[in-house]
Structure formats: C-alpha cells, structure tokens
C-alpha cells in the first residue's frame, strides 16, 4: 500500500521540481522514488495478504510480483530517457510525472480487489497515456495518436463500465470475493445479465491489451507516440492490463470457463493472425513492432484460455520476456533513428560492422521475440503452449506455430539488415545509459532463458 502512496506523491513532487526548474534532479529523484516503492512492495513479500480499505485492494504475491516488474521496467525506460525528452520538449517534468501517474494506475490494476478499483486503476493508467501520446503538440502523428487513443479508450472504458454494472446487477457486489462466491453458490442459476457482463468485460479488456478485433488503435498510437512512450505503453501498460485480465478471470470467472473460453479462443486466433500477417508487410521497423505486439498479446491470451494454476507464472514470464526485448528493440530504434532519420528496416543496414555490440544485443532481443531456445521468449512460449496443450487445444497451438514461423521472417529482417546488408554508415552513438540498460536487458533475457525458475518461482 505504501507503494501506491509513494508513487502518487512522487509524481506530484516531480511536477513541483519541474516548476522550480530543477531539471537535473528529475531523473535521480524519479529513479529513487521508483526503487523506493519497489522496496516497499518487497517488504510485504512474506506477509499474509489481506484485502485493504474495505476490500478495495489486495497485495497478494501475484500483485506484488507484477507491480515490481512494472516498476523495474519503468526504471529501465526512465534510464533511457536521459537526453531524450529534452530533445522533443521543454517541459520535461511533465513526462516523468505522467509516466509515474500512469504507473500508479498500473499498480492498482494488478492489485485491485474491487471492480471500482479496476475501473479507477485503468482510468488513471489511461488518462496519463492519452496525454503522453499527444505530448508532441506540433506533431501531426502525435496528435492523431492521442485522439485515436482517447476515443477508442473512452469506448472501451464504456464497455468495461457496462460490464461492471451488469455483473453488479447479477451478483449484488463490486467485491471480487463476493462475485466469486456468487458464481460458486449458483452453479446453475446464474442470470443472463452476468453472462453479458462477462462478454462486455472481455471486450473492454481486449481493447486495453490490444487484442483483435479491438486492436485498431494500437499501430497508429504506437507509431505516432514518442518512442519512449511507445515502449512504456507496450510493456508496462500491457503487462498490467494482462495482470488485471488474469486476476479477474482466474479469481471470479474460472468456474464459468465453458462459457467464455470459446469466445477467448476466437479472439486469440484472430489476434495472432492479424498481428502477424500485417507485421509481415510493414516497411517500418516501428510499425512492425507495433503489429507484432498485437501478436504477442495473442500468445499471452493463451494464459487466459488455459486458465489455471500455472497461468499467472506463464503470463508473468512472457510479459517480462516481451518487455525486456521490447525495451531493446524500440530503444535501439531511438539510437538508429538519430543518425538515419527514418524508422525503416534500411536504417539498420550494416549496423553490425559499425556497432557490433549494439547489433548483438538487438539480435538477442529479436531471437527472444521470435522464440528461439535459450532466450526468455522461448521459455515464455513454451510454458504457454504447455498450458494450452494440457487443455487439449491442439489446433490452437498448431495455428500458433504457423504464426511463430511467420514471425521469423520479420524479426530476422532486422538481423539480415544488420549483418548481411552492406551499407556506408556512420557509427551510431551508443551512450552509456543505453549500454547499461541494453546489456542488463540482454543478460536477463538469456538468464531467464537458461534458468526460467528465476521468474516462475516468484508466484
């Protein structure tokens, strides 16, 4: 609980630091605050979790792990921000404050124990993001991204609220424990309202995680927003949204699997194919990553389709693996774009000759995204596939495998560009903070890939 208060106060503090033009203190203060809140969370590690504030939030192991992962990935992202925000805006403090606000929302989404908190968490997380997406006021793409994101986000929140209302109507409570009790107590006589509520929740949450057919905002928003914000959206926000999704469905709706799993199956399959096929034809590396993030959402949905004891570990591992690799992928684009000025694959041509170490970390990230063994991405896929096959959805896995093979093509295009395409190019500047973050992320990817127990044993 201390973590949520710390984060909220930290964001306000950062705003004041901006007001008093203390630019150089922004980053150290933010990092210290984030690490502090992570420590506060870890202090609760061995405590027996109890719902706080009349059952509003519950910091169980699940919430703690996901929150800490979200905070640590935010730390990585902020480390990359040195020199980044200054280049695009004068009011740097806004960025830090908004990111931290959004993170506060993310922590609430992982730890909610009441439907009202789910709604509030998602709103805190999203409203900050609407502003962040449009923060380059004079950039057309950024404005488009913000408007699209806001409209779509408002819609999906509407669905979510409808869903919550109907669930309340049927069960008479916002509290997760009571909704769960309602489902268990009425094995046969659950009202139609409740079922419709579940469907609307699926729609609302599918919007938030960027699953097809509710994914239309993702590519444009990811493309239009500043890259660092895109990283934040596609890692922290997505991980938190999945945590919330999983928390709700595994805790409350698990007994009703026969009803909603077929719906999720359809969503999963569409998500996989839409993401992959569109990613295949992109010329821009950034758009490719945006579409591939849709397909990764599809893989993570496996954890919800095959809901069970191992789901949370599997989604945690996949989300961590995906986030680490994405930080490297988008982060390297920031560097490469500074010299080439474009988002295309061609910007990477010949990078291995000039920046062999940078090229190696990008390769590790691509291999992880593609799911090659000994990387975290492979273990993530492996565990998710195992979960789904245990429920005998063989066809789903076969379709997923076709997608994984397709994905090789576009992830390897980057590797091909870096290593095999000759190009006259300058050395890309590789600042120390990027080196630290990239090497750390790459080492973690390999470490988790070789010894996944590091992550799965946490939950």
């Amino acid at each position: 609980m201390g973590a949520i208060i710390t984060l909220s106060l930290l964001a306000i503090l950062v705003l004041y630091l901006g007001l008093f033009k203390a630019k150089n203190t922004l980053l150290p203060v933010s990092l210290a605050g984030l690490l502090g809140s992570a420590v506060l969370l870890l202090l609760d590690w061995n405590k027996a979790a109890e719902p706080l504030y009349s059952g509003m939030i519950l910091f169980d192991r699940f919430a703690l792990v996901f929150s800490v992962v979200c905070i640590l990935i935010t730390v990585l992202i902020l480390l990359l921000s040195k020199d980044y925000f200054d280049r695009i805006s004068g009011n740097v403090a806004e960025y830090f404050a908004l990111i931290i606000f959004s993170l506060t929302g993310a922590v609430l989404v992982t730890s909610f124990h009441n439907m009202a908190m789910l709604f509030i968490g998602i709103e805190i997380m999203s409203v900050a993001l609407y502003i962040l997406a449009g923060i380059r006021k004079k950039d057309f793409g950024s404005n488009e991204a913000a408007l699209k994101y806001f409209l779509m986000g408002a819609f999906s929140t509407g669905f979510l609220l409808f869903g919550i209302t109907l669930l309340y109507g049927a069960s008479g409570s916002f509290d997760l424990a009571e909704i769960r009790q309602y489902v268990i107590d009425n094995p046969t006589g659950i009202s139609v309202m409740f079922y419709v509520g579940i469907l609307l929740m699926i729609v609302g949450l599918a919007f938030k995680v960027g699953a097809a057919p509710f994914h239309f905002w993702t590519p444009d928003v990811y493309d239009g927003a500043p890259i660092l914000i895109t990283i934040f959206m596609s890692t922290v926000v997505k991980a938190a949204a999945f945590a919330g999704f999983l928390r709700l469905f595994s805790y409350c709706f698990e007994p009703l699997q026969d009803f909603w799993v077929p719906v999720m199956l359809v969503i999963t399959i569409i998500t996989l194919f839409v993401g992959n096929i569109t990613a295949l034809v992109q010329h821009s590396f950034k758009r490719m990553l945006a579409y591939s993030s849709i397909s990764h959402a599809g893989y993570m949905l496996f954890g919800i389709v095959a809901i069970g004891a191992s789901s949370s570990g599997a989604i945690l591992l996949y989300a961590t693996a995906y986030s680490l690799a994405t930080v490297i992928a988008f982060g390297s684009l920031i560097l490469v774009k500074r010299t080439s000025g474009s988002d295309d694959y061609e910007s990477f041509n010949g990078l291995a000759k000039r920046n062999p170490r940078l090229a190696l970390t990008i390769t590790i990230s691509m291999l992880s995204l593609a799911g090659i063994p000994l990387t975290a991405g492979f273990v993530g896929k492996f565990i998710l596939f195992a979960g789904v096959l245990a429920d005998y959805h063989v066809l789903l896995v076969v379709l997923a495998v076709i997608n994984a093979a397709m994905a090789i093509y576009y992830y390897f295009r980057v590797i091909v560009a870096m290593y095999f395409r000759p190009a006259e190019r300058e050395v890309v500047a590789y600042p120390v903070n990027y080196q630290v973050v990239f090497v750390l992320a790459a080492v973690l990817i390999l470490l988790i890939g070789v010894y996944p127990g590091l992550i799965t044993s946490l939950i």
């Binding site: 195992a386 063989v394 495998v401 994984a404 093979a405 090789i408 091909v416």
Partner: protein, 484 residues
C-alpha cells in the same frame, strides 16, 4: 576424463574465447587446437564404452523443476557413433577453411554449433533435445548467411523458416507427450513407456516426421537443400551435410519410431517409400547438374533417402547399415566438398564443363579424389560398400522393389560421380586448368585423413559395428520390424 558435460561444454568455451579473437591467423590455430582437444576428450568415451551396457556416462540435473524438465544426457550405442563423427569432422572442417581469412567469430559459430550438435546426440530429455536442436540451427544460419555466396539472404531465410517450422511441429508433439506422461516430465524413458491410442500416435508420428524429414532432408521436404548447400561457404556446407542432417536420422531412431510404434506401423511404409523416391529423383537430377557443388548436394539427397528408407524398414541389418552409413556419408561428403573447394578456389568456377585434365597437373589429388568417389559410390573395400550392402540386405527383407530401386543409388551414383570425375580430372587441359596450383598442407591433411578413413572403415568396419549392435538389436526387439 569421462565427464560428458565437460565434453559438451568444451567447444562452447572455445567459442567464447574465439569470439574475442579478431585476427585470422591466431583464430585458425586456436580453433584447430580446441577442436582437436575436443576430439581427444572423446577418445576416453570410446575406450570405456561397453556396447552391452545400454545407457552410459549419464548425467542429470533438475533444470526447470516446475515443469518436470531435467538436463539429462547420456551415451549409448546409437549416440556414440554420432558423437565420434561430430568431434572427428569438426577439426577437419576447421582445417578446410584455412584458405579463407575468417575472423574468430566464424570459428566461434562453428564450435558453438558443435555444442548444439553434441547436445542433440546425447540428450535423454525431450526439452534438452529441443534446445540442442535449435541451438545448432542459429550458428549455421549465421555461418551460411554471413560468409555464403550469391543470393545467400533469401536462400537462408527460406532454410531457417523451413526448419524452424518443422521444429515447432516437433515442439507441439513433445509438449503433448509431456502432458500425457503420468510423471509429468520430459524424460525419454517416460515417452517410451506411454500408452497412447492409435489416432494420437498417428498425428504425433507426422509432427516428428516432418521435423526430421526437413532436416535430413527427405523428398518432398528437400527443396531448401540444394540452394542452401550451394550458396553456403565450404565449412557451412560440410557442417550441414556432414553432421547436421544426421540430427534428423538420429531423431528418427531415437525420438520417433520407439515413441510412437503404432504410428510407425501405420505409416512406416510411406516414409520408407519417400526415401526411395528421393533416391531415384535426386539421382536423376544429379545427372543434369553442371555445377559440381550442386551435383554433390543432390547426391547427398539420394544417399540420405536410402538411409531414411533403411531406418524405416527397421531391422537389425538395415539399422546397422544406417548407423555406419551415417558415419560414412559424413566422411565422404566432407571429402567431396573439400574437393569442390580446392578445385573451385583455384579455377574460380564450379562449372564442370570448363574443367578437365587436372589429373595431369595434380596427380596426388587425383588419387584422393578417386578414393573419395569410390567411397561415395560404395565400391567394395571402401566404407560406403559396408553401409549400403547392409542397408540393402535389410530393405530387401521388407520389399524386393524397395531394395531394387534403392540399389539404384549405387548404380546411378557411380554413373554421375564417375562421370564428374572423368570430366574434371581427365580429358585435355585448358587455359584454366593448366596452371592448377599444388595442394596446400591443410588441404592435403583433410584429403589424406578422409581417404584413409574411407579405406580403413571399408576394410575393417567391425569396431564401429560393434558399438551400435547391442543398442540396435534391443531397439528392433522392442518395436519389431516394419510389417510387410
């Protein structure tokens, strides 16, 4: 010195060291040193190996306990020949690349691949096996795509996606089998003890079969092979043809047929037939080739087709033949691709119609060439004869027609390989060939070792046959041959 884990990790250590060597000359020497030491480390295993004792030198550690995954390796009569082959060929492959100036990273990839290959050949846990399977693929992709010839990018991405898709099918099968095991693990023995119903066995058969057939490659999954072999650098082609395709055959023997015996009983005839079709088909195409390297690539499909058919017939003779022929094919094909490299490097072409008369200027090479061709063709007193003879006896027991068409490899192979020999080595000299430079020391070493092994194994194959006999007999008793 019989710690299997050390044997596996040794090349990886070499790879890590070599990754930091920038100059070519020390990189070559270091790579050779590491690969020869790895070969030396293999010898104690051979000496202490007891063919009657089943699985030996086993090592097992918990890897991902939550999923029942162990790191589990060991050696038996099926693994040992392939471990020997891998560690024997890698020094030769390193030597073969001495004409080029490669940085340490090239050799790092070769040695890294060696670890992956050894892991495949010794894994007793399906997860371990799959990891080795993919770990071997990444280095070879980079070797082929970084140092390959024309059109290497397109060819190699095709190769990668093709094999990766096959691997993923296998991954589904592995996870599915894992879910079925009562103990919830990935151990080979648990897979062997499964009692799956017939329908399940049938689809699992295809999931594994396609993965292995792409790797070998068997007809009709071979379309990536000629382009990849032709564009790859010599060392890459040698790794692909000499060792990597044996991963597929090994997989058939270790992971496919004993795991799904009923699937094998249902479709074994078809798989064997695909092998035989591949023999005839690839031989006919090899006839038409003008490019020497492409000709060898197709001849490799033909030879592998026969080995595949022999495995699927599944009797003691055919399997023993397949085991020894895997070694023989590895040795011969290294020799042949070495010759391609020697000749095309000097003449700056691989087109056989522009060659001729080289025997006059390089008589020593003519002798090695002839021995290697004899071995590849399978003439008596060479290694190829022993293997092909055993395989054909085995196949004959199943079907005389399969044996007859399979026997075409020997005849057709003799025709196109000897014709190539004639075209390249005999006839009049021309402008290109008259200034043929003499062999360099490293080329001579490779060719002498290969020719020597061809004759030694041809005359006295018994030690190699002894290694695998116990394991093969037990496997055949366990599953039973393909019913007619």
């Amino acid at each position: 010195m019989d710690n299997l884990l050390i044997l596996l990790l040794f090349p990886l250590v070499g790879a890590l060291v070599l990754a930091f060597v920038k100059q070519s000359a020390p990189a070559k020497r270091l790579a050779l040193l590491f690969s020869v030491l790895a070969l030396g480390l293999t010898i104690p295993f051979w000496c202490q190996f007891n063919p009657a004792a089943g699985m030996q030198f086993e090592q097992q550690f918990a890897w991902i306990p939550a999923l029942g995954i162990d790191f589990h390796i060991g050696i038996d009569g099926i693994s040992l020949p392939l471990v020997l082959l891998t560690n024997l060929l890698v020094p030769l492959i390193v030597l073969s690349s001495f004409s080029a100036t490669h940085r340490g990273s090239f050799y790092a990839l070769v040695l890294g691949m060696q670890t992956g290959l050894l892991l495949v050949f010794t894994a007793l846990d399906a997860f371990t096996f799959y990891v080795g399977w993919e770990v071997a693929l990444i280095p070879i992709y980079f070797i082929c795509a970084l140092w390959g010839g024309e059109d290497r990018i397109r060819v190699n991405i095709k190769f990668f996606i093709y094999t990766f898709f096959g691997s993923l099918l296998m991954l589904i099968a592995i996870i599915y089998l894992h879910v079925q095991t009562p103990s919830g693990d990935f151990a080979l023995t648990s897979f062997y003890n499964l009692n799956l119903d017939n329908a399940t066995q049938r689809w699992i058969f295809w999931a594994f079969f396609i993965a292995f057939a792409i790797k070998m490659p068997l007809f009709p999954f071979h379309t990536w092979q000629p382009d990849t072999y032709t564009t790859a650098p010599t060392a890459g082609t040698m790794l692909l043809a000499g060792i990597m395709l044996k991963m597929g055959i090994y997989g058939l023997i270790r992971w496919l047929i004993p795991v799904v015996p009923e699937g094998f009983a249902a479709y074994g005839w078809l798989a064997a037939l695909l092998g035989i079709i591949g023999v005839v088909y690839a031989s006919l195409i090899a006839f038409k080739q003008k490019d020497f390297k492409r000709l060898i690539a197709y001849s490799s499909i033909a030879h592998v087709g026969l080995i595949g058919a022999a495995v699927f017939v599944w009797n003691v003779q055919s399997l023993q033949g397949a085991m020894i022929q895997m070694i023989n094919h590895g040795i011969s094909v290294i020799g042949l691709f070495m010759l391609v490299d020697v000749i095309s490097r000097r003449l700056d072409t691989r087109d056989m119609s522009q060659m001729g008369g080289i025997a006059k200027v390089a008589p020593a090479m003519a002798i090695y060439f002839l021995i290697i061709v004899m071995g590849a063709v399978g003439l008596p007193v060479t290694n190829g004869f022993v293997g092909e003879f055993l395989m054909l006896i085995g196949i004959y027991q199943y079907s005389i027609w399969y044996a007859a068409f399979g026997g075409l490899t020997i005849i057709l192979g003799a025709v196109y390989l000897l014709r190539a020999y004639q075209q390249i080595m005999h006839g009049p000299l021309n402008d290109r060939t008259s200034s043929f430079a003499p062999l360099q020391w490293h080329e001579t070493v490779v060719l002498v070792v290969v020719s020597g092994l061809i004759i030694i194994i041809g005359v006295y194959p018994q030690p190699l046959l002894n290694i695998s006999e116990g394991a093969v007999t037990e496997l055949v008793q366990q599953i039973g041959s393909l019913a007619r």
